[in-house]
C-alpha cells in the first residue's frame, strides 16, 4: 500500500519505441502499452490506416515514484510537443506489485 504516480501518455503509435527507450534509460520498473487507440485531437480524427501504421495512437501507462514521474514528463515533453498527444498524471495507491510493496 504505497502512494505512487500514474503517468498516462497518449501518443502517435510510431513514437512508442522512442518513448520506451526513454523509459528504459530513466530506469522505471515497468510500463504497459495498449496499441490501436483511436481518437481526435488538434490534428483531427486519427482512426488508423489499414495499410500503414499512420494515423494511430498508443496509450502508455507507467506506475512510478513521484520523482521518476517528473523525469518521465521532462524526457517525453519534446516528443509529445512535436507529435501531439498528451500526458496526464494522477495519484494512485499501489496495492500489489510483484516484488515491491
Amino acid at each position: 500500500m504505497k502512494p505512487v504516480s500514474k503517468v498516462e501518455i497518449i501518443i502517435d503509435a510510431l513514437e512508442v519505441e522512442h518513448v520506451t527507450k526513454f523509459l528504459n534509460e530513466i530506469g522505471v520498473s515497468g510500463y504497459s502499452i495498449i496499441n490501436d487507440v483511436v481518437g481526435k485531437g488538434h490534428r483531427g480524427v486519427r482512426s488508423g490506416d489499414a495499410l500503414t501504421d499512420l494515423f494511430k495512437n498508443s496509450y502508455i501507462m507507467v506506475v512510478c515514484e513521484e520523482k521518476e514521474m517528473h523525469m518521465i514528463v521532462e524526457a517525453i515533453r519534446p516528443i509529445v510537443k512535436k507529435f501531439g498527444g498528451l500526458c496526464i498524471v494522477s495519484d494512485v495507491i499501489m496495492r500489489i506489485h510483484r516484488k515491491s510493496e
Partner: protein
C-alpha cells in the same frame, strides 16, 4: 482515345470491386474489411508478384532489353522527385514538397498489378522482369526526398536534430514492403521453374481473387480519405492528376527511345505514373515528421490511385499505341 479500352478495363472484376468499395463508402454502408485483413492481402500481393517476377527474370536472364528497361526505371525514380519537388515548392513548404515528391517518385504495386491485368484482358503479357523495375523504383525516391528536404530546409538553431542517414536508408531499403517484394523476387530467381510449379496455385491461380478483395478494400479506403483533402486547397488535387499524366508520358517517351515492347512500355509508364501510399508515407512520417501525412496519403490513395486504374492505364496504353503508329521506325 479508344473508349473500348477504358470500358474493357472497367468491367474487369478487380476494378469493379474497387468501385463497389467506393460506392459502399459513399452510401455510408457499414461494410468494412477489419484490420489486419487488408495487410494479409497486401502482403500476399507483394509476395506473389515478387516471386512471379523472380521466376520470369530467371527465364529471361539479364538481356539487353532488361538492362535498358531497368536503367530507365531507375532513372525515372531519381528524376521524378526532383522536378515534382520544384513544382510543389510553388505552393508548399519544403517539408511537404519533399514528402509529396517522394510519394510520386515511388510506385504503387497494386497499380502495377492492375495494369498487368489490363494487358491480360487484351491477351498480352508484360515481361515478368518488369517486376524488378517495380522493386528498384520503390526506395530511391525516399532518399531523394529527404536529401531535398535537408538541402532546402532552413537550418535548425542547434546543430543536433536527431537526424541519422542510417535510419533513412533503413527506412528506404529495408521497410517491410520493399523487403518482401525484393526477397520474394530473389526467392523466385533462386527457385526457378521448379519452385514456380510448387507455388503456382497459391501465387497465380487465386491471385485475381485476392486482388479483387484488396481492391474492394482500397475502394473503401480511398473514398474514406477523400474528405481529408477538403482542407488541401486548390493546388494539390489537380497536381494529383496532372503529375501522374506527366510522369506517365515521360515514361511513354523513354520507353519508345529505348525500344521497349508495347507491353513493357505500359508497365514502365504505369510505374512512373503511380504514387506510393504504403512505403513512402510510413518512411516520411519517421524521417520528415514536419510533413503532413493528411496531404500526401489522400493524394496518392484517393486521387492518383483511382485515376490511374480507371483512366491512366488505358490512356498510357493508347499513347504508346499512337507513338508506335507515328514513329514505327524506332521499333526494331
Amino acid at each position: 482515345m479508344d473508349t473500348s479500352l477504358v470500358i474493357n478495363n472497367l468491367i474487369h472484376p478487380p476494378v469493379l470491386f474497387f468501385f463497389l468499395g467506393m460506392i459502399a463508402s459513399f452510401c455510408k454502408s457499414d461494410l468494412k474489411i477489419p484490420e489486419p485483413l487488408p495487410k494479409l492481402f497486401s502482403l500476399y500481393l507483394l509476395l506473389a508478384i515478387g516471386f512471379h517476377g523472380g521466376v520470369e527474370l530467371r527465364k529471361t536472364g539479364l538481356t539487353h532489353e532488361v538492362v535498358f528497361a531497368l536503367s530507365a526505371a531507375m532513372f525515372m525514380a531519381i528524376l521524378v522527385p526532383f522536378y515534382a519537388f520544384f513544382i510543389l515548392r510553388i505552393k508548399l513548404d519544403v517539408y511537404n514538397a519533399a514528402a509529396i515528391a517522394a510519394t510520386y517518385g515511388s510506385i504503387s504495386a497494386v497499380t502495377y498489378i492492375t495494369a498487368v491485368t489490363f494487358l491480360q484482358t487484351l491477351g498480352l503479357e508484360p515481361g515478368g522482369y518488369m517486376v524488378a523495375a517495380l522493386a528498384l523504383m520503390e526506395s530511391p525516391a525516399i532518399v531523394i526526398g529527404i536529401i531535398l528536404a535537408r538541402i532546402f530546409a532552413p537550418k535548425k538553431e542547434n546543430g543536433e536534430d536527431g537526424f541519422s542517414w542510417s535510419a533513412v536508408f533503413q527506412e528506404a531499403f529495408l521497410n517491410g514492403s520493399v523487403l518482401l517484394l525484393t526477397g520474394s523476387l530473389l526467392i523466385g530467381l533462386a527457385s526457378g521453374e521448379e519452385g514456380w510449379d510448387t507455388l503456382k496455385p497459391f501465387t497465380k491461380d487465386i491471385f485475381k481473387g485476392m486482388l479483387s478483395f484488396f481492391l474492394l478494400d482500397m475502394g473503401l479506403l480511398a473514398a474514406k480519405r477523400i474528405g481529408d483533402l477538403k482542407s488541401a486547397g486548390f493546388f494539390l488535387p489537380p497536381f494529383a492528376i496532372l503529375m501522374p499524366v506527366l510522369n506517365g508520358c515521360i515514361g511513354v517517351i523513354l520507353a519508345k527511345l529505348i525500344g521497349l515492347r508495347a507491353e513493357d512500355a505500359l508497365m514502365l509508364s504505369v510505374l512512373c505514373a503511380s504514387a506510393s501510399y504504403i512505403a513512402v508515407p510510413a518512411a516520411m512520417r519517421l524521417s520528415l515528421p514536419e510533413a503532413n501525412p493528411s496531404l500526401f496519403v489522400p493524394m496518392a490513395l484517393a486521387i492518383t490511385f483511382p485515376f490511374n486504374i480507371i483512366v491512366g492505364i488505358p490512356l498510357y496504353y493508347y499513347l504508346i499505341k499512337r507513338a508506335n503508329a507515328l514513329f514505327p521506325a524506332l521499333l526494331g
